[in-house]
């Protein structure tokens, strides 16, 4: 026994704990949701471990397991429509995003278009919004009483320019708020496309546009396809936009899944929808990796070649105008939310009737708790993910732990709603009745954002040479002491960068909050969401402005940090 204890040193114990964490809060919930999709009623795996009765009940449930659910899905039922609509939406959104980004990416990577810097900066704006805020801002702009609708009607239009409560509305919100995810990879792809090949083509007398369509574009194509898949996955998993904008006759799988669990406690249907969502997202992820196999845009071109930037005004001016058109929409959305937050009333007129700070006053008197909750929950998730990510990256880099590497990629694939459903289902009863606690909420947030954190810490970890750690051990330190006193401090920059990202994304997080937050722990995102559902747009707007401001401040802090690290 002593021997065993000696063998399991401090670090080994930590590894054991971390595996336990992932198995308990990630693997078992996913497994259990998979099982429920057959049994059609919730099963209590933990209970079966501690109680014989429960065990027998669970065995009984398995005996009654059926494929009914799967059959009904594929026999053209209600859910099948939901899946079809969701796939269609994601497909349309990824195509539109590609078309939208191509000129902008080319403009940024290869030309000296006017206002290039400003446009690049504005392209980050969409990322500070949780999508449900953008969705409801679209209502304020394009809805029946929206100012865009007003202008449209003044110009002689009938009805609305675009109905926000429609597939078109949802697609547009997603396009204008997800395009930055595609833009930067595409800029990178354009930058590394083999410039010498292009020059060869031009030397052979090819015209500019011909070079583009025969050389530049085909070379950038695989990168673009994989980018399209990223957008596809983001759009497919997005909960914020459809939950606000989907009309009752438009089924989308995320909304269906949410309703099954939040509205009807229909475990079996929720489970099957969850399984399908994960399957689709997993397939897209696999396809994307398959496309990118053996292709690394960072190292493709060995040494960076100096690209000659296109200065032809006939090309750059239209590119710039187009880019402005794209970035102006998120900017207008932001402005709209802000104006709404200080408006007395704002109906079908171009501008509000008067201005007031009352909405903010209301928030500071009655909703301070939500802000506090957001900060506490995000803080908790941050601490948890810092601890887990630091050790995970240590094990992944030093012990080449493929198991942990895998566990931290799983959350990338699982859509938020699916993960939430899995957790609720698993921790719904004794002995581990955690649903409705702040603890499980924090765990959910941190597991969901762990991939970002781990990516950041693994990078720094790889930069720490093994012999530095060996030196500490040689000087008498145990591996755990070396990890705390040497590796930890050296990983700090990576941890800081990851932390800000985790904090921001948790504050913005919608699906998990809406699904899992208990009333006394409601974060800002949930409060805004409920206000929007109750059509209390003014306080929703004020709270949104506060949320966006917090994100902006944090992002400023992050870039300040990373700049200081560079020098």
């Amino acid at each position: 026994m002593r021997g065993l204890i000696n063998k399991i040193n401090g670090l080994g114990f930590v590894k054991f704990l971390i595996y336990g964490f992932f198995i308990l809060f990630l693997i078992i919930p996913l497994l259990s949701v998979f099982l429920v999709s057959f049994t059609n009623e919730p099963i209590n795996l933990f209970g079966s471990l501690v109680s014989v009765d429960q065990f027998q009940r669970t065995v009984e449930q398995f005996k009654n397991a059926t494929l009914e659910n799967y059959k009904s899905i594929f026999s053209y039922g209600h859910y099948f429509t939901g899946l079809k609509n969701s796939l269609y939406l994601s497909f349309i959104v990824s195509i539109l995003v590609l078309l939208l980004c191509m000129p902008i990416a080319y403009g940024i990577a290869r030309t000296k278009m006017p206002f290039k810097k400003t446009i690049s900066a504005l392209c980050t704006i969409p990322l500070i919004f949780p999508t449900f805020i953008s969705a409801y801002a679209f209502i304020i702009m394009f809805g029946r009483a929206g100012w865009v609708t007003y202008i449209y009607q003044q110009l002689g239009g009938e009805g609305m320019l675009i109905d926000p409560y429609s597939m078109t509305g949802i697609a547009l919100v997603q396009v204008f708020f997800f395009f930055p995810y595609a833009l930067w990879p595409m800029v990178a792809a354009f930058k590394v496309s083999d410039v010498s090949l292009e020059e060869a083509s031009r030397n052979m007398g090819s015209k500019g546009w011909l070079t583009f369509s025969t050389v530049t574009f085909p070379l950038a194509l695989p990168g673009m396809l994989s980018t399209a898949l990223v957008i596809f996955a983001v759009s497919f998993s997005d909960f914020g936009t459809p939950i606000i904008l989907a009309p009752s006759d438009l089924n989308l799988i995320v909304v269906d899944a949410y309703r099954e669990i939040a509205g009807f406690f229909n475990w079996g249907s929720a489970a099957i929808l969850t399984v399908i969502m994960i399957a689709v997202a997993g397939f897209v992820y696999w396809l994307q990796n398959f496309l990118l196999k053996g292709r690394n845009y960072d190292t493709l071109s060995g040494k960076p070649k100096q690209v000659k930037l296109n200065e032809n005004k006939a090309l750059t001016v239209p590119l710039s105008i187009f880019s402005w058109f794209v970035v102006i929409i998120p900017l207008l959305t932001l402005a709209t939310v802000f104006v709404q937050s200080i408006a007395k009333t704002w109906g079908l007129e171009p501008l509000p009737t008067g201005y007031t700070l009352d909405h903010y006053r209301t928030i500071f008197s009655s909703s301070l708790g939500n802000i506090q909750n957001s900060l506490l929950l995000a803080g908790g998730a941050l601490v948890l993910s810092v601890v887990v990510a630091s050790f995970v990256s240590y094990f992944v880099v030093r012990h080449r732990s493929t198991g942990l590497d895998f566990m931290t990629t799983v959350p990338l694939i699982v859509p938020g709603i699916a993960f939430g459903i899995a957790l609720i289902q698993t921790f719904n009863t004794a002995p581990l009745h955690l649903t409705g606690t702040a603890f499980i909420l924090i765990v959910a947030y941190s597991i969901r954002r762990l991939p970002y954190m781990v990516r950041s810490t693994v990078g720094t970890m790889r930069a720490i040479k093994q012999d530095i750690e060996e030196a500490a051990i040689n000087l008498g330190a145990s591996t755990l002491t070396a990890a705390i006193t040497i590796i930890g401090p050296l990983m700090l920059p990576g941890i800081a960068a990851g932390s800000v990202l985790v904090f921001i994304t948790v504050i913005k997080e919608t699906s998990i909050s809406v699904l899992m937050a208990p009333p006394d722990w409601a974060p800002m995102s949930l409060a805004i969401f409920q206000n929007v559902l109750r059509a209390e747009y003014y306080s929703a707007a004020a709270m949104s402005v506060i949320l966006v401001a917090m994100v902006l401040v944090l992002q400023g802090l992050a870039s300040l940090l990373s700049n200081r690290n560079k020098t």
């Binding site: 040479k465 012999d467 530095i468 060996e470 030196a471 500490a472 051990i473 040689n474 000087l475 008498g476 330190a477 145990s478 002491t481 705390i484 006193t485 040497i486 930890g488 401090p489 050296l490």
Partner: protein, 374 residues
Amino acid sequence: MGSVELKQLKKDFSGVTVLQNIDLDIKEGEFFALLGPSGCGKTTTMRCIAGFETATSGTIEIGGKDVAKLSPNARNCGMVFQSYALFPHMNVFDNVAYSLNIKELKKNNLFKKFGVYTRMLNSKLVKYPKEIKEKVNNILEYVELSDHAYKLTSELSGGQQQRVALARALVMEPEVLLMDEPLSNLDLKLRHTMRNTIRRIQQELKITTIFVTHDQEEAMSMADRIAVMKDGEILQVGTPTDLYSNPKTPFIADFVGTSNIIPGTVVARENGLTTVRIGEQQMIKSATQTEQDDVKAIIRPENLTVIGEENESFDNTFEGEILFATYLGSTVRYDIEVEGHKLVVDTTYESGNQIRQEGSKIKLGVLPERVLLI
């Protein structure tokens, strides 16, 4: 401080043997060099001693005790890494004090432990006790770094970093000091001064030292004894003069200093001299007794004498043609061709002398006692 003994050490990396039949007996206080070309297993040997690699078979004893069951942090071997492996986030003082902090950590209660941890993370928050301060300051003075104690290690020059690494290893009063090519990252001039510094410190502290290098000059000038390694095995162990004058294999003869290695066949053994035919006409006489018939004659360049007008009598004489003449300051090195063999000859150069022309004829002599047959 202790002796180090390796018995029949063997190391495989996933089935590939990189070390075998390693037997070493390093005495207390000895400065011992492991010399060999890159990839021959020197680092692996050292890492086995330090405990970072587990030997496939064989035993390692430090100070007479088998260390197989001791984890690397309990072996008390001070190691100086090739890259120095200084802690980049700590200043010089904190780097050197690291092992002393660890010792504090081991003997204290939980509350004090917390204090020590805090100090290791930020030495501004918790003060060092007087004994640690004194020890570190002493050792820093010893390696002439007192003025740099509170600098970050990245602000130091290569030689200074090297001395921090040395001080950090020495302050824990290790049983053995292990140094893996410690001078290879320094420029030539600094390398020479550091050789002296390391040798001086080793002599003064009488610390058992194992020094890894691929530079024979470094090993010869510093070590009490040298083990020459090749392809994971030890070829010969001996003092520098031993190795130089009695290399056991042509590889050592060539690796330790420069040698003329001439293959030939024994044709006669008489009067304590062995006669070897090395060309159609050319014979060479050696004082070495050997049973073998196919031999290699080893002659050091400085033992070949140019026979000029002065009529010296040699048992061995050669006539050849000068291919190159290289002026090296105090010596001139000639590359000479004798009956298809290329020989190298070193002659002392005195100012005023003429350097012989390339292409001219030259006559050489060597004493049979200076011809080694292997």
